[in-house]
Symmetry: C4
Subunit: 497 residues, 4 copies
């Protein structure tokens, strides 16, 4: 078969017939458009063109193989006939490249927030927006960390803490410290190697990695990267087509995954306006848009009906999952005590109290707050050992981990901080981030008077402020403007020369 | 009758004899001055002059016909004899016109706040001030939205939400989503076509429009603009002269209005200082004012005795309203549970828990907070189905709507956001604003685990923080100034060239 | 007797012998130094010199007559022999004079905060500092107003409020509105005529004026300024020498005062650092001070032992006061319910719940908060009509007055706002300030559904937030710095020319 | 023995063999490196070099004698053979020296915060960072003072407070005011004379000084500086080698110390990032660090295993302490009521409720909050007189002291404020700081209605807000940006020339 030419492809440049080139091959994605989890707009931008550079960082290499029917694979393109687009000079991008040259050394990062502060300045705008954004007003996203600040310690003194052991188990796996690397999508946005960077760091620190359904690396690449008896779990978005889901689950089990985390808080992907706005200069500033005729209303719906995520997933599906795998099943995204009790009844091995990092429903409560609601009820009913409770969202300090464990969590998931460390400093960054947590953990265990994980208990925290979602009375502007604030002693004027 | 001349009119340029020209005709408004709802100052500014440009956007075309006795209609004026006033160059207005040229495209508006942010920069100063202002310190106005932030979700998971139906009924009318366009005055301040823009958008999205007494368009213009079986309600300020009120109500019923919303929170119009200040450069900066002699004290009183709004309206009037109309009667502006109970006794069909958008009594509580007080009492007494409860004030996100419905509201009214959308982008703006709410609504229903309106219930919200009106202890200035805040890693200096 | 010369006086320029000239006469104030309520430093600055300009605004004309023994009156000075000090150019003062030229017209003041905002810019630095300052960190001073923001309304609707009557009585006197002008010291700092300006405004608006012990005008000047049947009260600092106090009280009663308000919250005058700092450039920047040798430690003590205020005043003194006057006795500065009960037992006619405008003990609670504690206890014991309860501190809006009355206060005292109005705009300013309160009062009574003062009751307010003195958890700086806040739609760049 | 030469020493410039010169003598510190409480990095910076200037301010003169085995004392160095390092010009240091010239006079300091504000600008960067820093996010450090702001007064009136006596006793010692100078390390960082400055000030004001284990002056220097019957206490870090601890305790008792304060909140020294960052330019900016290879992971561990502080210290050690000394034993750093009860059982004489100035465990509660939890339990069990309760942390005002005493504390410790006063103004600074507290104390005792310490009781404070650790709902950015805040009256433009 003769190769296609750029001209052949370029004719199919609309919704009605949409071809794109990826890695030198052409594909007909016309029918796929409405199912694309990232929306059709972004594909249409490359309709009739070479989309490789945009495609690369956000899709596993086997994506087209797996998700696009063979009949839509149109064959090779003679790339010498494809017109190269010149890139415009982008002053924001130039600034970013300058900032990268001035980047602080890794040794200047003392905590997990520091990686985020660096990442914000050195990451590509769209990558930063994708990782850092949350749903709607990002209230829940910020509350996730803020909630930890409502919990204070009641430390014990005069406890022998010479030897502190931070190791514990999760779902039967021994880990060196009670956190795991939770699943986050599109790792290659932040680092060219993608999720395998996290695999390596997790190995080094003996913690579990949860492999995301929407990874940039393929599932097998990530599993291939594990070393020794390293343990991985699988995070699963349930496909409408259960045979696809079954294939994924069985493959994961075959490749040694030790836990199946079914995402239950995302029947539809959330709306992250910061992310949307970061892409706006590409897609939205046309003159027509101003007239209002071109308002894209399909996006909400498109996401919902995407076959990648089945909005019809329900409690009725749980027995089926139990029938297809022997891996422990954990529901990821449980948000109220009633559903934890139902999970116990359903016979799953664990739940993650999570709001998806604040990326789904704004004003969902933080995992740590839900935990404080859940554990007393479980204990009251004698169920606290029937199920493992994890939380994620907002963890930035070892003190956050300790608070979760005092309240009864088995472990906590950490996502964004490792992405930011990876995006800024690569593997050494993630390595350091984990080491910082370990150092903090050991120190703070000592300071709270606990030499091992089991010593952590609810009497060591004061949670009286936790449930209060207060917003102060709106500011009294006129009064505040009229007030003349106190000032300290005044330094003399610098003498003029 | 020979036409009047500009000279004839210009003699009547004082409180004692005040004539004005509108659309080429002269009127004697001397006796009307104290009754003018907008205060007499603004009329006196045009005493003896052509007031058309000022009059136009804030009065329905039939105003003078309806409210000014025929004997005060002085007949046509030979406009060629009327002196044209030159407009001064206004640098603020020039800036605004420049900003309009730089306006973001409609597609860049992702939520209802975005319209407000645009409107603030592109609306005429006085129009913005009229729409955006609230009573006194605007504490209640801001609390209205802020109160929603004290309510958090307890979402259900693993519910089949493939098909989400946001439709419901209000007062027997089917609507596609549980909000209605509430009544707001003076639509032409924001858009030349006025309230009919909202009529069209309401039709497109199958929601109810409430027609304001103080619309810029005439009532009939607004009714004429409805299409198909579109439903409208009437918002009513009760006139001291009940025969006028009776005429209005009967006319509305005859023209098909399906609900009578009697405003009960405005025996006197509130004092909105931002609005007053926006007009100040016109009326207040005279030298005399500085001496204190010219302090206008009549304004407060004038508003109170205005025959447009009867401050004597009381519970005793309700039976009379029931006698003159078959429309359902709803009290708009109820603010405590005792009065909801009384409304049930009085046999009205509904109440709107509202503080008039924060434009009347500052420190009135938000509708959503009152709702949380009202519903448990109604349920306790088995009255929750005897009356439909609506709220308005501060709704900006579909999550706000969902919170209200979880707590027991039948629907919510939205006002300002649509005005800002209309003022910035016209009908496409309002259309998009409504569509955004619909998209948010469908998504958030999915995320909270509700496939239809009836699924929303009080267990899905956490309202523990709602009743607390806290103002933090005043800031400790000296201590704060002395504190040296933590800093993240430092980027290197940019090398000098 | 020959006149003294400047040279004679100038020899007595130290602590050991300190003479000053006032209005052309010399006085020996050596022994008086430690008793001076304003501290001795300020007198020593004029030791041996003409102090008239400094003396004038802060002392009643009869001060030296009344408080300095005749033997210390040294007689007339030949002023032609007294050296005139040249004033240095003061750039701050020049700026202030420029600002006065640009002052907003009175008509631009819409509320009581507006006067404060103007006063801050046009008052002399030291005068502003004296009026505006509070104790220590000014926490209580600011809390006084802030506390009102924790109280929200539960308005009644459908009440006939056509006629609103804001009049009431206080200690038997009819007043047009339930506030009085409370006592504040040193009126001439703000306005050349001093307290009589307030007398005139009080008359115009039919409210009571409380005459301060430390007025700039003499007591008789203030009484002479009253008109018709205008009512005045006396605020009293109790002198160590009870015969002086007795003379003052009897004189006040003789001149028609209708209430004796004994200050009980000031056994020692508070420390107001803003005020101290405003005077610092005068007195503190000497080289010696830097060495630490010249630290003035006497000030605290001096104030305490000042014979003007007796720190030994106690409950045992109350019967004596009852024996020397028939005026009603009111304790001003009561701060807890136990002391209100004791006041009832002691048989006084009233108390003012007050913390002295936040000028005495920092972290004293606001009067309005104490009121909410006091009234339920009084009602429980059936004592609510045995005593009249007033409050002062932080009142800026009629809504504040209404809140106090709903909670059970008989009336409220207002101080600083009238001083700021007076200092900025003189009598017309105070007149307008009072009128603004009246307009607000009438409007807000209507809006809360009360046609007369007696209609105001505790069910009309929601005080759940009142008792909570919360300070949020300290800000999470690193996290906040790393967070990238959401932004609205972006306007296009302004095209370059 | 011939003197060593610079060349001899300079060969030992690595971890493997590390010699340093101090005061003209060489020492082999290779084996000591991992035990250095300040970390080994800082020593390695001077490996093979003269470290005197760095060593001097942070070690007592007898340090090397006491802690370094004689075999490591290498003898004198011929300093003429040691290369002098040239100092680079440091623009930050130059700015600081300029600021010192412009320093406010001492008389301009009106309160304890003022010293901190001055110190922040005139102290050496590293010294400031060491004194001012706290653990992790410095949340606890700031909460320490902030917690006092949640406590408000309920003052008594009409109490005879002519004579106010602020004296009291602590552990049997009479003091003029209920505070003591608590132990803080490294006094010479702030002032060349170190802790003896505090000794002198404490004597002058008749308060107790607690001598720190980690003082810059030697213990004996500090004891030698005491005058008359001045009382000192000893703060003790318990060494792994109990014989060293025993020696220290017995020596202190022999030299007259009257209390043994055993630190129990520091099994490991906290991580103070501000402090670490201040030293960063020295140690961290190497190219290798950027590669991530050089991450120093030993620091956390190093601190923990430091033989200076025994992390194995436990309740079992208490009887031993009782056996080696007759001094009262006080546990410093108790943080919950359970441990206070255990301390009573253990028979110690006192506890200090403290979190180590916020330098150890972040989110530990403030001493004042723990006090409010402790005292009611002690009183309930009749134990309130069995033990003396002290607190420290965040005390800046006499009102803070009064709050602690009302709640039941015997006295309070103050640390940083005196360091800042000393660092800025030397002994006169500390003297003034203490005097300010005394003046405030006397005044505020009067204003709260207490003439002696015993008059202070729990009814005088309102602590309802104390236990609430609230963090407001995250800010609603978009809404806030769209809001147009109210403005006061506008001043006219300044006329152009």
């Amino acid at each position: 078969m003769p190769k296609l030419t750029g001209a052949d492809v370029s004719k199919h440049n609309s919704k009605d017939s949409c071809w794109v080139i990826v890695h030198g091959k052409a594909y007909d994605v016309t029918e796929f458009l409405p199912e694309h989890p990232g929306g059709q707009k972004i594909i249409l931008k490359y309709a009739g063109k070479d989309a490789t550079e945009e495609f690369e960082p956000i899709h596993p290499p086997d994506t087209l193989e797996k998700y696009l029917d063979k009949s839509k694979h149109l064959g090779e393109v003679d790339m010498s006939t494809v017109e190269q687009e010149e890139k415009e000079f982008d002053p924001e991008e130039a600034d970013r490249e300058q900032r990268i040259k001035q980047m602080p050394p890794l040794a200047a990062c003392y905590n997990l927030m520091d990686f985020e502060a660096v990442a914000r300045k050195v990451m590509k705008k769209t990558a930063w927006a994708y990782y850092s954004s949350g749903a709607d007003d990002e209230i829940t996203m910020r509350e996730n960390h803020s909630a930890f600040h409502k919990i204070w310690f009641r430390p014990r003194i005069l406890v022998d803490v010479e030897n502190v052991d931070t190791s514990t188990t999760m779902l039967g796996t021994n880990v060196s410290i009670p956190f795991y690397v939770t699943a986050t999508a599109l790792g290659k946005l932040g680092h060219a190697e993608g999720e395998v960077v996290l695999t390596k760091a997790a190995h080094k620190h003996n913690v579990v990695q949860m492999i995301p359904t929407l990874a940039s690396c393929s599932f097998d690449e990530i599993v291939d990267a594990k070393q020794g008896d390293q343990v991985q779990w699988l995070q699963l978005y349930v496909n409408k087509d259960r045979s696809i889901t079954k294939r994924i689950v069985e493959h994961a089990e075959a490749r040694g995954c030790k836990g199946l985390f079914i995402t239950v808080d995302a029947p539809q992907l959330g709306r992250r306006e910061k992310d949307m706005r970061s892409k706006f200069s590409d897609a939205g500033s046309s003159v027509q848009a101003k007239s209002g005729e071109d308002v894209d209303r399909s996006q909400g719906a498109a996401r919902a009906i995407s076959s990648f995520i089945d909005p019809a997933l329900s409690w009725k599906d749980i027995p089926w999952f139990k029938s297809i795998t022997k891996m422990p099943i954990i529901l990821k995204g449980v948000q109220r005590v009633e559903d934890v009790l139902r999970a116990v009844e359903a016979g799953v091995q664990g739940v993650v109290l999570s709001n998806h990092g604040g990326r789904q429903l704004d004003f969902a409560r933080s995992g740590i707050e839900v935990l404080a609601e859940v554990m007393p009820v479980l204990r009251e009913r004698g169920l606290e050992n029937k199920i493992e409770i994890f939380i994620d969202g907002g963890i930035r300090r070892a003190t956050d981990i300790i608070k979760a464990l005092c309240l009864g969590a088995k472990g906590v998931g950490i996502g964004r901080p490792f992405l930011f460390a990876m995006s800024s400093y690569g593997l050494p960054g993630v390595d350091k981030a984990m080491q910082l947590l370990k150092d903090e953990m050991e120190m703070n265990m000592r300071l709270i008077g606990a030499s091992k994980i089991e010593d952590l208990n609810p009497t060591m925290v004061d949670t009286r402020g936790l449930g209060v979602h207060s917003a102060p009375v709106p500011v009294d502007t006129l009064n505040l403007n009229a007030y003349d604030p106190l000032q300290g002693p005044r330094f003399a004027e610098k003498p003029k020369l």
